[in-house]
Subunit: 81 residues, 2 copies
């Protein structure tokens, strides 16, 4: 089973890297770009076959290592493979 974890800053948390991307896109001539936010994408291969157990385990990984839950949100997507 494969898991994808999307980690992004919570609303209100400053994201200077996203801001820099937005400014650079504007400088390159792209128009009509509003807020840009940069986050992380982590893809994991899991031996666990049960979706519920896999989700529980990935949630645990997010809380313990992958995300800083003070300033970041995470979303988990599971896919068979």
């Amino acid at each position: 089973m494969k898991a994808r974890v999307h980690i992004s800053y919570k609303t209100g948390v400053l994201d200077p890297q996203g801001k820099a991307i937005g400014l650079t896109l504007a400088n390159l001539g792209f128009e009509g770009i509003g807020e840009v936010r940069q986050g992380k994408l982590i893809e994991l291969e899991l031996a666990e076959g049960d979706a519920e157990a896999a989700r529980k385990s990935v949630e645990d990984m997010c809380e313990k290592l992958l995300a800083n839950t003070v300033i970041e949100n995470y979303a988990i997507e599971l896919a068979d493979d």
Copy 2:
């Protein structure tokens, strides 16, 4: 319209950061973890209302700035709002 761009390393490109995450998860006691890959997630707000034009424009952004297409793949997801 909102766009989410997922950027990940192409198959075969070494990903030391992903490897470090995998080793740390194993050290924390998580079992059955195979390959771990770390990528980027970029969320953009676009003034463009037409989905086709928006996708074209975001593809252009990926080619010019967001992704290093020599070693990275990108996937674009569009959502109204």
